[in-house]
Symmetry: C2
Subunit: 326 residues, 2 copies
């Protein structure tokens, strides 16, 4: 019998989750839940209904795990604890500073309901966090560096779009090669924000807009750009559509540590992703499998990627994994 | 209170484990057990005794986890089940084809004794296996490639040393850059053995030995060299000592997968290790922490890296990990 997955929210991430379910032979998508009008939504999966989010609140019984595809700022802090009181849930909550509080809220709700809630799944937090943990546990005398990109930062793209005279914008975060090289060589450099990443913006401006002002406003924007070397390119709407409609991303966690005088080891985990939301969705789906199995074993409460034994992510049996994957 | 670790066997790996314990604030080395005469062995850790392996057979009570540093061919298949009947144990058993049988033997002994036995720890099997598992679980539509090196293969070095007229030899396994590049670009190439790795040998020959014959015997040696492009360099004993006395190794697991038509993702995990035995020892020590904690929770039986939630490897609490590492 398939694991029955439902999706709450059908933006980029919800569609990424849907794509990942289609690649998973042991799962089926039973429904997509939306706060929009269900009739207005066309989804890709043949036969799966689109339902109103109200149904989830009332309670549905055809779901083993609910994957919550909402924003970390306002959606998930409310939705994940609420739904954990009824369903096994997974989210991709990524406001690092608020993870402890979110964990506590989901844990209380999930434990009371006898459900599992896995929070902060994806690649950062998620796979990158795992790699930081494995590396520092193996080599306690060392340090980690995280580089992001080359990839589209949606937050930074949005920030540029809010500038007067900007019709559309795409911002790429790019790691600085010299910094990557120094870290890979185990030199443990001290790096400023500016030395780690550069930012590159592609902007479609309104006709007659003051491009010099727009460029200046971007480059001096506090938090977002002021601490970085930023390049701005003005392009046409056609070029934007042709060259920048994907959402690629990726990055590296590089850990450099020592085991004895003069003995260095460098561990690197890198992702090169054509689609950030599709990869994140695929991570969520693998952890949905784990949530289902853990709950079947009687486990309840909030979990993170740190708490889940890797074998729970795979549809293969322990015997199969030991024989072919170890 | 510290976790009390004992080491069985004091070769390269045993010394690597000792170095890793010295870097772990929550552990202490209580004894090294040897089949040699204990008086003949000098170890680095001040205050830790060297004892006869016979003591382990009789039973000692000052050890929480025993790390067994023996060979996979003949030592571990006997030692790990034997010691799992008395102690929590860890080994680095790496004969891939025999892992299922070894697991079964250790599982039976450990379960009967109420102990935990973690087998096949290290980097391959070990960290590389974990990365294969995580990647294929996230991206079921994809494939993995494992490259080894650049690094010293002790098995191949030994094979060259057995040739008549060879005084000493060191063999490096080197991944082929063009193959690495094709895999990193997500091209999913079909690669022959020869296309993935080359082999480079440094040989100290006896005075007057027939170097052409030695080189020919190396290059045509079945299984070890015949399927590879091999380069042979004759060097002096001084050069061998000066340039080739380390045991560096490493490699990469590269996984390339797709989530939808035309959408590729590449995951790469790479190790660049100055000392193969010291890094392997560090992995064993991290998993010793997990074995101790699992057993404290009442768990028993054989485990592999697939069965251990990452948080068990870290001395930090769940709260700390969620706040600072996720």
């Amino acid at each position: 019998m398939s694991i029955r997955i439902a999706i709450s929210g059908y933006g980029n991430l919800g569609r990424g989750v849907e794509a990942a379910i289609a690649k998973s032979g042991d799962m089926e998508l039973t429904a997509v839940y939306t706060r929009r009008s269900p009739e207005s939504l066309k989804i890709k999966t043949a036969g799966a209904p689109v339902r109103s989010a109200d149904e989830l609140d009332k309670g549905v019984d055809d779901v083993d795990v609910l994957i919550i595809c909402g924003g970390s700022a306002t959606d998930l802090p409310v939705m994940t604890p609420k739904y954990a009181a009824k369903y096994n849930v997974i989210d991709s909550f990524d406001t690092h500073a608020c993870i402890p509080e979110h964990f506590k809220n989901v844990d209380a709700a999930a434990k009371a309901a006898g459900k599992v809630g896995i929070i902060s799944c994806g690649w950062d937090p998620g796979m990158f966090s795992l790699n930081r943990l494995y590396a520092q546990s193996i080599l306690p005398d060392g340090r980690d560096y995280t580089f992001w990109g080359k990839g589209v930062s949606q937050g930074h793209s949005d920030a540029v779009r809010r500038i007067e005279g900007v019709l559309d914008a795409r911002q790429y975060t790019i790691p600085v090669e010299a910094a990557l090289d120094a870290v890979r060589e185990g030199k443990n450099p001290e790096l400023t924000t500016r030395e780690k990443h550069t930012r590159e913006c592609f902007v479609v401006a309104e006709e007659g807009a003051d491009k010099e002002r727009i460029e200046r406003e971007i480059k001096t924007m506090p938090n977002y750009f002021a601490d970085y070397d930023t390049t701005v390119h003005f392009i046409s709407a056609e070029e934007m559509k042709r060259d920048h409609s994907g959402l690629p991303h990726g990055g590296s966690v590089i850990y450099s540590g020592t085991t004895s005088e003069g003995t260095k080891h460098v561990i690197e985990y890198s992702l090169n992703l054509d689609s950030n939301p599709e990869f994140t969705g695929a991570v969520l789906v693998a952890y949905a499998r784990a949530a289902y199995r853990l709950n079947q074993e009687g486990v309840s409460g909030a979990k993170t990627v740190f708490d889940i034994a890797p074998a729970y992510l795979s549809p293969k049996s322990g015997d199969e994994l030991r024989a072919h994957c170890l």
